[in-house]
């Protein structure tokens, strides 16, 4: 479904001496993501996970290489492909001037959802994510868990086929995290393809059919969690991760 070929992203980087150098965030990446799978992207901080998500969601242009959605190159079909994807970013990025309902309405309008459908979709999604009473709330007043669920609601309004979740459960308590896990599994059952980046290896092991491990922008492993454990003679995915990256992540 998604094909990544020789993908490279290089950023100009200002070092301590205030000179510009080049930093390779994604380094000649090749991989494919299958329809209806939950695909995990793991890596240490600065491994290139978020840059990869931003490239795949057309928030960044690659330095070189290509991305194809169903064999269509993104640069030629960006508007069409953007309608297929939903993005839950790592950080909370609501429009602070709009309330919960208005934030969702802005998103619905941007994706061209017709007027008579908008209200119903917003109300259904808020109910689904247990935010039904918050439609007129200021987004700043929501709790961390509510904000995360609202980010998911916003990403789902236009019924995307592919959902990108960039560390969706970061800094959430275990109950909310489990609620979001069951939501992700529910979305997969409904036919969505899910691409997930996370620092919680346990999360990737539980949810993902396949995981890719990145190190300094390079792909260093790609397989199912089970196969990776067998291949690296490890008890669990966390051990694989430590062996490959040399760092223990949060559990």
């Amino acid at each position: 479904m998604i094909e990544i070929k020789n993908l490279v992203k290089i950023f100009p980087h200002r070092n301590a001496n205030k000179n510009y150098t080049l930093k390779t965030a994604v380094d000649n990446l090749n991989l494919s993501i299958r329809r209806n799978e939950i695909f995990g992207v793991l890596g240490k901080n600065g491994a290139g996970k978020t840059t990869l998500i931003r490239l795949l969601t057309m928030q960044l242009s690659p330095t070189s290489g290509n991305i194809f959605y169903d064999n269509e190159p993104v640069e030629k079909n960006s508007a069409k492909i953007k309608r297929l994807i939903g993005v839950v970013p790592q950080h909370i990025n609501f429009d602070q001037e709009l309330n919960v309902g208005e934030n969702l309405e802005l998103h619905a309008r941007l994706f061209g959802i017709e007027k008579n459908l908008r209200r119903k979709k917003i109300s259904d999604l808020l109910e689904y994510l247990e935010l039904g009473d918050c439609v007129n709330e200021n987004v700043r007043k929501l709790s961390g868990g509510m904000k995360r669920r609202l980010l998911i609601a916003r990403a789902l309004i236009h019924e995307p086929q592919i959902l990108f979740l960039d560390e969706p459960t970061v800094a959430l308590d275990p109950q909310v995290r489990r609620k979001i896990w069951s939501l992700i599994e529910d979305l997969q059952k409904k036919g969505a393809t899910i691409i997930l980046t996370t620092h919680y290896i346990e999360e990737a092991e539980k949810l993902c059919q396949r995981v890719a491990i990145l190190k300094t922008g390079k792909l260093i492993a790609l397989d199912t969690p089970k196969n990776l454990c067998e291949k690296f003679a490890a008890k669990n995915l966390e051990e694989v991760f430590i062996k490959l990256t040399g760092q223990k992540e949060q559990i």
């Binding site: 950023f11 057309m58 960044l60 990025n93 802005l106 309008r109 941007l110």
Partner: protein, 246 residues
């Protein structure tokens, strides 16, 4: 395209609607001070052949006010880009950079028109004599677009709130006083006059004064404003698209 422009404008309208009363009252403060201090206070000791000083400064106040309002209408994009990251919502959506820019400019023009209406009302209450026409509103819109573009471009390029404030200090503030708003640029030394004549607000002041006092319209000034607006539009588009490469 029209739907996308409408969506971006809708967002700005919703935000304005929530604080319309506050916006209207806050927009009355500066014009009231200008009209009282310069129009009634200082104006009584100024003699002009063409009429009262109050009549002279009203177009200047409208020009500088529309500059300030349209600039400040769009600079919230800076916080949306740098601090709240809410600008990402537009990058992810299937809308063009052109639609986003036009939507934002329309929002700025609306605010500028509302605040101009307030000044016109206040100036009439103060007893100023001037007439309005469609050309006047065309110049007002052009001026609003130019300075909304200045704000948009700065919001795309600058990285801190302090730098944004410097645009106000180094660009808008000198223009507020030098560009024929409170006095005729004809009295300036040649070199200063040449520099001032290169700035868009000078031409807005000139045009607005001619139109409101029934004088001849300088088409060169209109052309200069159109050039500024066109170049600004292209620069803003480029700056917005450049964000995708960073």
């Amino acid at each position: 395209m029209l739907h996308d422009i409408g969506t971006v404008f809708w967002r700005d309208w919703i935000v304005l609607k929530k604080r319309l009363t506050k916006f209207i009252f806050s927009r009355m403060v500066a014009p009231l001070l200008y009209l009282t201090a310069f129009g009634l206070g200082l104006g009584r000791s100024v003699n002009l052949d063409s009429g009262s000083y109050l009549d002279f400064i009203v177009p200047g106040i409208i020009a500088l006010n529309s500059m300030n309002i349209s600039f400040h209408s769009v600079i919230s994009i800076h916080a949306e880009r740098v601090y709240h990251k809410s600008l990402e919502e537009y990058f992810l959506a299937p809308i063009s950079a052109t639609a986003f820019l036009i939507g934002k400019l329309l929002g700025a023009v609306l605010r500028s028109i509302i605040s101009t209406a307030i000044i016109i009302l206040l100036a009439k209450i103060f007893g100023a004599n001037f007439s309005l026409s469609i050309t006047f509103f065309a110049v007002l819109i052009l001026n609003s677009v130019i300075f909304a573009e200045v704000g948009f471009f700065a919001a795309m390029k600058l990285s801190s709130y302090e730098e944004m404030a410097q645009v106000n200090t180094y660009i808008l503030l000198p223009m507020s006083f030098m560009c024929g708003t409170f006095f005729s640029t004809a009295v300036l030394p040649e070199v200063v006059k040449f520099l001032v004549d290169c700035l868009p607000l000078t031409h807005t002041s000139l045009l607005m004064r001619s139109i409101t006092h029934g004088g001849d319209i300088t088409y060169t000034s209109g052309l200069i404003l159109i050039c500024y607006a066109s170049v600004g539009f292209l620069a803003c588009l480029k700056a917005f698209q450049k964000l995708l490469e960073e």
